[in-house]
């Protein structure tokens, strides 16, 4: 029991103490009494901390909690619906970064589709009129040849 409460018991001794504690209520009581006596012994050797020590500890704990909350805010994704700008500001922290991608409004999608289709229509029209024009020139050429032959 002594080595156990002093924290120097071997693994085997610890297991033995825990087993005895579980099986024998008298042993459990004796162990608890010894633990209490060790606490009383420490109280006898206590030194009062200077004023302001508690405030230092509270400040450090608050700082640790504040830091862990900031980390949680970064890790936890936004699961709720949009609740305005203030809500966004609470869930995200502003980070300065450069991106090679451009943000485009969704409404522009239909305009891009319309421009694409119109482009195709104009291209088809241009090809059609080009071919028509070429055919017409060839016909003109043939007619000119015919006319020359008739004149001769």
């Amino acid at each position: 029991m002594e080595t156990y409460v002093m924290g120097i018991a071997t693994e085997e001794e610890v297991q033995q103490v825990l087993l005895l504690k579980k099986e024998y209520p008298e042993f459990k009581d004796a162990l608890e009494n010894l633990e209490m006596d060790m606490e009383v012994l420490a109280q006898g050797m206590a030194i009062m901390p200077p004023p302001g020590t508690l405030e230092k500890i509270e400040t450090e704990i608050n700082e640790i909690q504040r830091r862990s909350q900031v980390v949680q805010k970064i890790v936890v994704p936004n699961t709720g619906s949009e609740n305005g700008r203030s809500d966004k500001e609470e869930k995200y922290i502003e980070v300065e970064a450069e991106s090679n991608q451009m943000r485009v409004n969704k409404a522009w999608k239909w305009i891009f589709i319309a421009v694409f289709i119109l482009g195709k229509v104009f291209l088809a029209g241009a090809i059609y009129f080009y071919l028509e024009n070429r055919q017409a020139r060839e016909e003109v050429k043939e007619l000119k040849l015919e006319l020359k032959q008739k004149i001769k």
Binding site: G7, I8, N33, E35, M38, A42, Q43, G44, M45, I61
Partner: protein
């Protein structure tokens, strides 16, 4: 009850105050017994109590009482310092007569175990003695101090 209060990871300042009121003076006395420097002890008290309250509830529950757990935690944090400076001389602590009840050998053994976490086998080697003898001396020293308090 105290464990339940502190098992909440983000403990309220009220709980920290309770913890501080109950254990800070005991812990400062204990740390001072190890480092033998009042100013350093106060600095260690702040860092150890802060770390312990922050970690409390996140680590595996111990079978020990809170004080014994806290004492072992402080001992492990100060282990590096202990290794560097410890010699088997009794610590000059504010003992309130507790350690004065022990003879020199018992005082040496008790302080080496209590403050510096020396094992029975280490002490047996250091004192060129049997492990059972060291164990008996430790038991006798604890019994003496307990009896002096009427237990």
């Amino acid at each position: 009850m105290p464990k339940a209060v502190l098992n909440v990871p983000s403990a309220e300042p009220k709980d920290i105050r309770w913890f501080y009121d109950k254990y800070a003076a005991m812990l400062l006395g204990y740390i001072n017994g190890i480092v033998q420097d009042h100013r350093k002890s106060e600095d260690y008290l702040v860092s150890i109590l802060t770390a312990f309250t922050a970690e409390f509830g996140t680590t595996e529950k111990s079978q020990l009482s809170i004080w014994l757990e806290l004492r072992q935690y402080a001992q492990s944090k100060l282990a590096v310092l202990t290794e560097k400076h410890h010699s088997l001389t009794p610590a000059h602590v504010n003992s309130n007569g507790n350690l004065d009840l022990l003879d020199d050998l018992q005082k040496q053994i008790f302080c080496a175990v209590y403050y510096h976490g020396k094992s029975i086998s280490q002490l047996a080697t250091a004192f060129s003695s049997e492990e059972d003898e060291i164990r008996n001396q430790l038991k006798r020293s604890i019994d003496k101090m307990r009896r002096s308090r009427g237990n």
